[in-house]
Symmetry: C2
Subunit: 337 residues, 2 copies
């Protein structure tokens, strides 16, 4: 059902699609963090036998998608679509993964919001009766992202205090019409919000306003309040962005202080892992939601959660031309029905 | 209706969404070509008052989307989604256009297949009952594409004989539940196909196998033959790629010689416009389909056409690492019902 009144951005699924299986692959640093034991596979080093970090990232995404398919118990050709994206120019991680998977491919770009963009579109495709099952995936890789967006890590440039550490991680999720499994019940696609941040070391501040915009829109459209969720989760705002979300939401009359968390703020141990304000990247919310929060929901810890993935639409080209960094956030409600 | 037998890649819409309006904006070179009079607006020079070609491209996409909305007779806030993408890293043309339009945004990356990827997903969203109306758009710009993918035009590097000329053009399409208007009746999302082409000057050859794969899959899934269409149109293979499509299809038992055309092969006058094999870019099929073929369908020239947009998933990064260029094609059947 589409909430068709003017201004609504939210879709309520009629027959909520189910998440049949998830799979996560991370790097050593992520495995050494507080949630390290939640992830399905840890690669030995950030090359994983490949010649370049970009090739490694694509392999991680491909293998995570294959693992999710296998766990769900279906061969790859039983999946009607592969919806995926990543941070690299021309989403090469996803393109090359799709080439190997040989599943009809729908390429997405939403920066770090891609994971939820894929879940939302996947939900639409399944609920609309256009597919039996599909795979959603996204990935990021610390070294491939740094050299594209900021500077090659070999330069050893000192990281700013507001910087975030791009997560080396990939997740695949198998979505199907058939329950059981946590279900996608609602999705809110966000608008692009730009508050004028220009520094690639202030991603959290660039994305936080978009997160607040989409989360509050979701509340308004669905007639819910923060208390109606066991957990409200954002993607990778890290500690600075998280604080901004809490403050901005409060100013708009929503108290998120009791049940709000951000994946970027918790994936690393900030006291020992030297990540400045926390984690970022398409892989951050993907591996935290798939590796920790969805399994916890299956165990019964959560009944209903709102996951808002935020993307900083950062581009070296547009930044060099003096443009600010627009942000976007897409949100899905996931429920144990 | 989803054709759910194993191997099918095609969706048949139950209530075919209608194309309510189109709008096109092109550069002077495109306006000087054989179809120049079909386009709605021609920009004075390739800057259009902006400081950079990237900003110009984004403005073209934004204005084309606004023009399509206006022609359909609805304010921007009556559109539930804006589905768009382009060739630039991080799809900045689309991101910045979406910021100004302030419509919930679904960012796509399918290289030059983006236009049909957007129409296909837009069709799913409308037919599934998830939106009343939405805007689809894509763009490309000769100078912004050349400096990102090949070399800055200021260098004056001699173009290879197999090269294509990136179209400076943007199109917006308004899709709705309400007829009249040409209708989207079927969509086939393609697989990534890679035959090993490595040169950024041989896009047509890189994309042609994907075009053939998707077009024949569409025939098989829908039980149709080439003769069932008044026109079979590909995106931007240009003259070399077009010849490869004809030959490869023939080898697989399909004669496309009677009703097949390629937008890249016809958008310029190849005898006088110095474009080597023809046009390319996200904007090529977008402006040709929106500016010429859809209006011709409304006039009655065509009753049913199959539009397959092809994308070369070209990346300077992956090319520098020795990778070949994967191709993809998505196809939609558009009919006058």
């Amino acid at each position: 059902m589409f909430l068709s009144r003017i201004g609504s951005q939210t879709i309520v699924f009629r027959h909520p699609p189910a998440i049949e299986a998830t799979a996560t692959i991370v790097g050593k640093k992520e495995a050494a963090g507080p949630y390290g034991s939640c992830f399905d596979m840890v690669i030995d080093d950030n090359y994983w036998g490949e010649e370049s970090w970009e090739k490694t990232e694509s392999k991680m995404l491909r293998e995570a998608a294959k693992m999710a398919a296998q766990r769900a118990g279906h061969p790859l050709n039983a999946y009607n679509y592969f919806l995926a994206g990543d941070l690299l120019n021309q989403i090469i991680s996803a393109n090359f993964a799709a080439r190997e998977l040989s599943i009809p491919f729908i390429g997405l770009y939403g920066a770090c919001s891609t994971f939820v963009e894929g879940l939302g579109l996947g939900g639409i495709i399944i609920d609309g009766g256009f597919a039996e099952r599909l795979l959603v995936g996204s990935s990021s890789h610390h070294e491939s992202a740094e050299r594209q967006y900021r500077a090659p890590v070999e330069l050893g440039i000192q990281r700013k205090v507001t910087a975030q550490w791009t997560v080396t991680g990939a997740a695949g999720i198998a979505v199907t019409r058939q329950r059981p499994g946590p279900c996608l019940t609602k999705v809110t696609f966000g608008k692009v919000v730009d508050m004028g941040i220009k520094s690639a070391d202030e991603m959290g501040a660039a994305m936080a306003p978009a997160a607040v915009d989409t989360i509050i829109q979701h509340f308004i459209d669905t007639g819910t309040q923060p208390d109606d969720y066991d957990l409200i989760l954002t993607g990778d705002l890290a500690s600075v962005g998280k604080a901004i979300v809490l403050e901005m939401a409060k100013q708009r009359g929503y108290d998120l202080s009791k049940n709000y968390e951000d994946c970027g703020a918790i994936i690393y141990d900030q006291s020992t892992q030297k990540v400045q304000t926390g984690g970022s990247g398409c892989g951050c919310v993907a591996v935290m939601a798939s590796g920790h929060f969805l399994p916890e929901m299956i165990k019964g810890t959560y009944k209903r959660m709102l996951v808002a993935a935020t993307g900083a639409l950062l581009s070296p080209t547009s930044s060099q031309q003096g443009n600010s960094i627009p942000g976007i956030a897409h949100a899905v409600t996931i429920e144990r029905l």
